[in-house]
Symmetry: C2
Subunit: 112 residues, 2 copies
């Protein structure tokens, strides 16, 4: 069930970015969306996801809204104002990392 391919530290940014383009999402939905977008390459485990969501909420980057669908519980998360700012920061930091890694791994390649 492992991941192998998720570098540690990138999960928060992934969650924030998904919420930047989807308005509101619940946990299980996020795991499915990531699986879909990455064609099964990234599998966000619940043991990583839920603590990450709780931390983002505690840090004031996400708001939560509980909903009952049928007889099941869902917790919808959406970006706060502060969360939107932080998303922009974290995404561009990751872009920077991606460029840096490209330079290290393939010095002849440049995204610019």
């Amino acid at each position: 069930m492992g991941n192998q391919k998720l570098y540690k530290g990138s999960l928060q940014t992934i969650i924030l970015q998904l919420l930047a383009s989807n308005e509101k999402m619940y946990g299980y939905e996020i795991t499915q969306k990531v699986k879909e977008l990455t064609k099964g390459e990234l599998n966000i485990t619940e043991g990583a996801l839920y603590p990450a969501l709780h931390k983002l909420e505690a840090d004031g980057l996400l708001d939560v809204e509980v909903a009952n669908v049928g007889n099941r519980l869902r917790k919808y998360y959406k970006l706060t104002e502060n969360g939107s700012k932080e998303t922009a920061n974290k995404v561009s930091e990751m872009q920077e990392f991606l460029r840096t890694m490209q330079h290290l791994v393939n010095p002849k390649f440049s995204l610019e």
Copy 2:
């Protein structure tokens, strides 16, 4: 002195890739080379580097050769045969990660 931008799990790959293009290097040299190649964006700390080198050696991916330069100690590392194979694997895994992240972070962008 922190890094902020080094995702956990990428250090081994960085070291291996540097050694794939530089034949042999010693620890301090690696820290300086990374700083140079990334224009100061990535700072490999010694507390991360040396244990990582020792682990790569223990795993049979690196050979070490001690040298005295002036009156100072240097430990030159180079890839073993097995290390070269593993480098190729880890580098393409990272390339895969870079592509995947690009899709998540900027779905309109593709490296292919």
